[in-house]
Symmetry: C3
Subunit: 270 residues, 3 copies
């Protein structure tokens, strides 16, 4: 009985890259269910891929979690297989920070190996397509139950490349948050989560002053878009329980000129 494999990448859909990785997996572990999370991550966008992966994996069954956004392919960056507690999940991908937020959310590293020279990789190995030649065949073997220690060379669990994640500064009447990502509708996700709300004066149904640069905008803190008219700014809790700014039927990122990393100050209104 093989474990399921989730698969996320920036390979896109125009080319056969993701399909060939799936073909390699099917050849090694035909019983393993492969669940494509998405192959639509912006090309080489490690932080975007990392955020999606960390958000999605708590909804996926425990198994092997393959992720490839790999601008450094061909350079001597390490290739990881990492086991996390407590569900014995295994993450496989390049050591560039892509896996890091998911590893943290899933409970932290228990065991890590470098699979760049794995005995399970395909030969001859290409310089540019390690998804096919390294990550997919290693993930497939791990799905079959092969121990991590046979898939690569052990490395220190505290040696993994991390991604710095911004943190909000939380006060009762003033919250300094940062834009984590902007989706294709122009909604700007903040580094503020609903678990932070109790420490703040933000209350659903009330209004919020949103300071960006030297401008101040008024937003309603609502449950859904439907509660305001088209063109109005809202603060809401998105489906991953992060606070986000949106404009109904338009782009909050355009209106407020927001990009990932930008600072936003929120002041609850009475």
């Amino acid at each position: 009985m093989a474990r399921p494999i989730t698969f996320l990448s920036d390979y896109g859909y125009a080319d056969e890259f993701a399909g060939v990785c799936r073909a390699v997996i099917a050849g090694i572990a035909p019983e393993a269910a492969v669940i494509d999370l998405t192959h639509g991550v912006t090309r080489h966008a490690i932080r975007e891929g990392a955020t999606i992966l960390a958000n999605a994996l708590p909804y996926a069954p425990a198994g092997v979690h393959l992720a490839v956004v790999d601008p450094g392919v061909g350079s001597p960056r390490r290739a990881l297989a990492v086991r996390v507690a407590p569900e014995d999940r295994v993450l496989v991908g390049p050591d560039n920070g892509l896996l890091w937020p998911a590893i943290e959310r899933l409970g932290g590293v228990v065991e890590a190996v470098d699979v760049a020279l794995s005995r399970f990789r395909l030969e001859p190995i290409s310089a540019t397509f390690h998804g096919r030649d390294v990550f997919a065949p290693v993930a497939a073997r791990l799905a079959l139950g092969v121990p991590l220690s046979e898939a690569g060379e052990e490395i220190a669990t505290d040696s993994l490349t991390t991604i710095e994640v911004s943190e909000p500064v939380i006060g009762e009447s003033r919250i300094v948050a940062h834009v984590v990502s902007v989706d294709r509708f122009g909604n700007a996700v903040l580094d503020l989560a609903d678990r932070h709300l109790a420490q703040t004066g933000l209350r659903m149904g009330n209004h919020v002053a949103v300071e960006t640069g030297d401008r101040v905008h008024d937003a309603a803190f609502t449950l859904t878009f439907a509660e305001v008219g088209p063109g109005e700014l809202i603060l809401y809790v998105d489906s991953y329980r992060s606070l986000a700014l949106a404009v109904n039927h338009a782009s909050a990122a355009d209106r407020l000129r927001l990009a990932p990393g930008d600072e936003v100050v929120l002041r609850p209104q009475p």
Copy 2:
């Protein structure tokens, strides 16, 4: 033994939404085959999604048919699981008309429940992603054989939201049809089907006068595009047995200025 689950949505491919729904299904019903019909429905286009679903399902094995095009998510619209006769198929999706044409084509409602508050939904439920939190987990349980009555609260089978479907007015020498949809090649599908042909004077191989607004166009009624030169207008039977207008190597919708809902009058020529 789990039933297969077909899955259609407007989630697109750039984001992980469809993938996360599949992950949720895989966690609950790992044995269920999931068949993605498409996630490329135009965002919030209920009627387009409904037409595709009704056309596609007769080609799919009987099972659970999950469909999510849900502009009203977060509002108090009902969430449906509906059983149709005679193959015991179950459709799952929002109660906004999306499922209606498929339900009618598959034989009509036998049993319906509102799953908005289903015991099988994920907690905490989000306000904006009921595909993940309601529809996918309910569909997965139903695929495992759980009775509809355990998935939600029974509702009257005649209380479902319907979509009004246009009907052609058929005469021997004059047929009033309407544009149902325009595909990405500019082909305009009409509400006229090949089963209507016998009642009309339309004969393959003959020509047809096509009146749109105050203009009249000449079209050949052909089996395939290959029978006319580039730029010529044809009437043909599409792969779902609907009559459609096309221009070889160009867009009929652009040429004739057609959009969904428009009236087209066809007059068979000798």
Copy 3:
């Protein structure tokens, strides 16, 4: 136990075409794993689809290999099911050259049938969607182990439509190659493979003069893009072991004005 089915097409992702083919397969051969290679082949681009298929199939487990890029659907072109040696793989698709390079790479034809009138096709058959009505149901039956001879009418193995593949003219100090394809990053793949290198003076680490038309460009022959600065031209071995021209962070096809079929003369530099 059903064989796996790989599936490549130009159906794209906006429509339900590929999904409906998968639904048909699932109805006939529910146990068969379906591996989508890609549905993003440029519409009607037989040669592009043929190249991707030939490159991808060696990485796929032996089974049934369905491919549909079919501008001639509705015309009297034959529909093929072809068995190749030595792994008993079966390819299914239109007889327009799409399957040819893959057939050659996999060892050549052993047995071929025309499935255009197959007893396994769906009735009524459409004029425009043979992927759904002919190729998918035939592929599904073959995955179940039905002999080729039952799927269609035997045809001569030397009667298949071929695609002419260009060949490089190889010398020690002058190599005449041709552009096979240009990918979406502007990398130009040549008909020169790494197995040809020993017969030439091309050595990794050295430079190469690249003549296109009446212009000469200097390129470094490197293992990866990372070895040169942005904007520099390189010759490299791509992940399918073909030689290719690329410009780091830009398009080689634009810079050198290259299109498929163009001649390129390479002269190794000391």
